[in-house]
């Protein structure tokens, strides 16, 4: 449950008023209106696609607004992919562990590898080490896959702080397979080491691929994209991502007759999210360098500080926030929200006292400002801060405002309950936000909200509710396929039906 989601949601109304005013005077008014429709109906990817075509061949002076909107669209995409990523980590973790705990059935030889990847992703490298070793020692796995496992084993050692053992593993890997080479480059990029080597490696992989004319799994392009991103080649990274099918499993294991398991690349959504944050930042910065930027400057600073925070660049975020606070000419509510973010930066920098001073002030002095309270709730939920005091205040309050206006508030409240593992209350709060007539439709519901709701249902073991949400979302975002597969697996293992079926 992330603070920026609600901050941005609350701000969006104001931002759009500005945007719409400007759209009217923009030369390609119709195109921008179409883009804004995509934005409002949460079809960010389609909006990006439309707008990128639109800006080709435009004069620089005409680009402030399109760049600003592109920044916003990428920011929304980044948030969405981050939320799907979190959902995938949760569901995949449970699913793979269920598979691993199965007794007296034939297991997939690839299971240790993907469990290992999961543990790397959730920063438990010591758990990953024996799993990669197990894969390396499995006779029936091909050499290339073992080499990739060895690279990951090195990464696990590296993250666990044993750089010597990491090097030992990496030096054992032979560099004649393009997939292995790309994987090597990617791992270096993820570890933020030898970025120059990483780019050479992926270039080599691309050359080998072109030379041999052999088809590669789409994962290789995502890995190359990430290396490009780490080397400040964000546009090239995005170009690759745009061409990539995102619902393709990395391994389809035909274990026996009538038993097929699919394993997915768990990192893909986290990486895409990071790249999209970076793309958003780039477009905002491009807009900041153009004439006519003045009316957007404060908003852009606001968003840039969010992005810095998301990319774990807390010092940069604090600097950006301070500049914003000095210059802000927007509504005073922006100041409150950005101060909540400032406190989150302090918290992340382990300056918890200063963080709580700000949050307490926000809650106690601004209790009537729902958006400020919502932003604090979101932040508490994200950081897993003990929220007992704020909940006591909230639960004692009678909500008197029109329910529709309270939707962002209930959304935050649902998130807060979710972080406290009170899933029943979380669902209750979220259901007040949901458009019931179009309950799973992206046009009517923010997809980030829908995923949070799906996660709550999943936790309550109401798997079919969660699956329906992802089924609808998969039509626009095929990447959720890995979440669907994981939930289906968990549901199949847990179902308590007796085989009943009735005509209706």
């Amino acid at each position: 449950m992330k603070a920026d989601k609600k901050i941005i949601t609350a701000l969006i109304i104001f931002a759009f008023i500005l945007l719409i005013l400007n759209i009217a005077s923009y030369a390609a008014e119709d195109s921008l209106k179409k883009v804004m429709e995509k934005y409002e109906t949460h079809r960010y990817n389609e909006g990006i696609s439309l707008l990128r075509k639109e800006i080709d061949g435009k004069q620089k002076d005409e680009l402030v607004l399109p760049y600003f909107i592109l920044g916003r669209l990428y920011l929304k995409e980044a948030e969405l992919y981050r939320t799907i990523y979190e959902s995938s980590l949760m569901t995949t973790n449970e699913y793979l562990n269920k598979l691993n705990n199965l007794k007296s059935v034939k297991k997939s030889r690839y299971l240790p590898y993907f469990l290992g990847l999961l543990y790397l992703e959730i920063n438990q490298p010591k758990k990953a080490v024996p799993l990669f070793q197990q894969l390396i020692n499995t006779g029936s796995v091909d050499k290339g896959f073992k080499e990739k496992a060895r690279l990951r084993l090195g990464a696990a050692y590296y993250i666990a702080g044993d750089k010597k053992k990491a090097e030992e593993q990496w030096t054992q890997v032979s560099a004649d397979d393009k997939d292995v080479i790309a994987e090597n480059g990617y791992i270096f990029a993820r570890l933020n080491i030898r970025l120059k080597d990483a780019i050479d490696m992926v270039q080599n992989a691309v050359n080998l691929s072109q030379k041999n004319g052999t088809k590669s799994h789409s994962k290789i392009y995502r890995e190359i994209a990430f290396v490009y991103y780490k080397n400040d080649m964000v546009d090239a990274a995005i170009e690759l991502l745009d061409k990539m099918p995102l619902d393709e499993p990395e391994v389809v294991d035909d274990i026996e007759r009538n038993k097929v398991l699919r394993f997915y690349d768990i990192s893909v959504m986290g990486d895409i999210s990071t790249i999209y944050y970076s793309a958003a930042s780039n477009y905002f910065n491009k807009a900041m360098n153009l004439r006519g930027r003045e009316k957007y400057e404060d908003l852009i600073r606001f968003y840039l500080s969010e992005i810095d925070y998301r990319l774990n660049m807390y010092d940069e975020a604090v600097r950006e926030i301070n500049t914003f606070l000095k210059s802000n000419k927007l509504d005073a509510r922006y100041n409150k929200r950005i101060r909540i973010l400032l406190a989150a930066c302090y918290y992340k920098k382990n300056n918890k006292k200063q963080a709580f001073e700000i949050w307490d002030e926000m809650v106690n002095k601004n209790f009537q400002d729902d958006s400020a309270v919502s932003a604090v709730m979101d932040t508490y939920a994200e950081l897993n801060v003990d929220a007992a005091s704020i909940l006591k205040l909230i639960e004692g309050q009678t909500v008197s405002k029109e329910e529709k206006k309270m939707k962002p508030y209930y959304n935050s409240l649902g998130g807060l309950y979710y972080s406290r593992k009170d899933y029943e209350k979380s669902v209750q709060a979220f259901e007040l936000v949901r458009d019931k007539a179009n309950k799973n439709k992206l046009e009517a519901n923010d997809p980030v909200f829908l995923i949070r709701l799906a996660n709550s249902y999943y936790r309550l073991k109401k798997y079919s509710e969660a699956l329906e949400i992802f089924f609808e979302m998969g039509k626009s975002y095929p990447v959720v396929r890995q979440v669907q597969d994981a939930i289906q697996g968990v549901y199949s293992a847990d179902e308590k039906g007796s085989g009943d079926v009735r005509i209706y």
Partner: protein, 536 residues
């Protein structure tokens, strides 16, 4: 002397549980009436012969199983207070509660649940002359044996996945049915059931209203709400109006078109519950024209499902591609719904040997024009459903097939479809519990009177996969098998799979602590209550 009196009193109290009702003791008030709208009246009210959703809901109020499933999806004790499972997962011993009283029914006598009732239930539901879908479902049980008056043992032919959850089947009393060997729809018990559940059947009125009263002796404590009344409606729109005018307190399923109207009314709360259900056009494969897969596929190509969903249900649902709901673990995500393609439909009909030789707009084969009768239950005669079947008629007319639509009263429709096979096409819906078990729909062994495979679909490959899915103890293998079945049945088209619609129940705000089971609906209704001030 005083001591003797006290001892006698204790003895009397312990022997006469009816003297004092068992209160839940949760501090919530008892009292009030809840009337709810239903889609017609069920043919039977017992858990063995009934085969429709309306009955599932009533049966859930009247009966209990050995075990239950709570809201957290855990198997919990019901009539059995505990159980033991052998290490080979084949022997299940259930220890029954000793304080469970049967509803009185016509009898004045208090009767307690015993092991004999459990054995009786098993025997009667597996008897060859009992017409029930349960027989196939419980074929995995090899033997049911009474150990003592309150202990029963089931031995399975083989271990199965999630076996304990299968013992949720409802127990009926040995003294219930007139015929002690098998149960038919003629037995008075199916109309006047006696159970152990939180409510007992008081009466069924001449209007078809099912009136149920709280069971004061319910072993989990008396349910809070005094009276539940199921009121049948022939039309969803009228049911919605009844809710809006306070003639009923609850609708078990809101017509998707009415969701915004009810959502906007502060008197109601809408509860989502995701029943695994879908609608379909089912084909009678005994009709030689419809026995051809190309023809059935042509029908699927001929109809614009998305347009129907948008136009008649305001898009409040999802188009499906096969025999599972999208919320099911078994849905094959790789299979996409066939597109609307009337040209392709005509091509397939031509390939199947149909041609409009006399230019009357209707295709023929072997000199016989392609005409078919579609049967639709009258309870489905809501405006949206009428539009769906009329649209279907038009779509098929466009490819040269003449469809005649007949609306039939619910019981007559079921006679036609399940007993007589007197139809060419039906429009209906299936609702599944979590196991998403399609075996009774498509296994060739389930063809026959009052069985679910009314299409008469028979495919040895499908039969083999169904059998294999029942045998496996590996949930992933079962998932793969079901996904294969999805692919095969999507290709074979015994049905044109249509859509799954948005499910909401609408309940008056006065009803509190509402929790709805996505399939059985009333599993937790004994906990529902109405504050005293709001009780009618």
């Amino acid at each position: 002397m005083k001591k003797i009196v006290i001892v006698s009193l204790i003895l009397i109290l312990s022997l006469s549980p009816n003297i004092f009702a068992k209160d839940k003791g949760d501090g919530r008030p008892n009292g009030g009436t809840l009337s709810y709208g239903e889609f017609g009246r069920p043919a039977t009210l017992d858990p063995i012969t009934s085969n429709e959703m309306i009955a599932v809901r009533v049966v859930e109020l009247l009966f209990n199983g050995l075990v239950g499933i709570n809201a957290k999806q855990e198997v919990v004790p019901e009539l059995a207070e505990k159980w033991e499972i052998s290490t080979d997962n084949r022997t299940f011993i259930f220890y029954l509660r000793k304080d469970v009283l049967w509803h009185k029914g016509q009898s004045a006598e208090d009767r307690y649940l015993t092991a004999d009732d459990v054995i009786f239930t098993y025997n009667i539901m597996t008897h060859p002359k009992t017409i029930t879908a349960l027989k196939l479902r419980y074929e995995f049980i090899q033997e049911a044996k009474k150990i003592d008056s309150h202990t029963v043992q089931f031995v399975l032919k083989r271990p199965i996945l999630n076996a304990l959850a299968k013992f949720t089947f409802k127990i009926i009393p040995k003294h219930g049915p007139q015929n002690p060997e098998f149960l038919t729809r003629d037995d008075p018990f199916v109309q006047n059931p006696v159970g152990t559940g939180p409510y007992y059947l008081k009466t069924v009125t001449s209007d078809g209203e099912i009136v149920m009263l709280s069971n004061e002796n319910y072993f989990k404590g008396r349910p809070h709400i005094d009276k539940l009344i199921a009121k049948p409606f022939a039309d969803q729109n009228i049911m919605t109006q009844a809710l809006m005018f306070n003639a009923i307190d609850m609708m078990v399923l809101v017509n998707p078109r009415n969701i915004p109207e009810i959502e906007g009314d502060k008197r109601f709360i809408m509860y989502p519950y995701n029943a695994l259900s879908y609608s379909f056009f089912g084909y009678n494969l005994k009709n030689p024209f419809l026995a051809d897969k190309k023809v059935r596929k042509a029908f699927t190509y001929a109809i614009n499902r998305q347009e129907m969903l948008e136009s008649f249900f305001n898009g409040r649902g999802t188009i499906i591609s096969g025999p599972f709901a999208p919320g099911s673990w078994a849905y094959n995500l790789d299979i996409k719904p066939l597109p609307y393609d009337p040209a392709k439909a005509k091509e397939l009909l031509a390939e199947a040997g149909f041609k409009d030789s006399n230019s009357d707009g209707i295709v023929e084969k072997d000199g016989k024009p392609f005409a078919a009768v579609m049967k639709v239950p009258i309870e489905k005669e809501s405006e949206a459903v009428k539009r769906v079947v009329l649209a279907f008629q038009n779509y098929l007319k466009n490819i040269g097939v003449d469809v005649k639509v007949e609306f039939r009263e619910w019981q007559a429709w079921k006679e036609d479809v399940f007993a007589e096979g007197n139809f060419d096409i039906v429009f209906a819906s299936w609702v599944f519990d979590d196991s998403a078990d399609i075996s009774s729909l498509f296994h060739s062994g389930e063809i026959g009177q009052w069985k679910n495979n009314f299409s008469g679909y028979s495919n040895p490959d499908v039969d083999a996969l169904i059998a294999e899915s029942k045998l496996t103890l590996d949930f992933e293998k079962r998932r793969t098998i079901n996904q294969k079945l999805h692919a095969m049945l999507a290709d074979e088209n015994p049905y044109t799979f249509l859509w799954t619609l948005t499910n909401y129940a609408a309940v008056q705000k006065k009803v509190r602590k509402v929790e709805i089971h996505p399939y059985k609906f009333f599993s937790f209704a004994d906990e529902w209550f109405i504050p005293e001030a709001e009780q009618k």
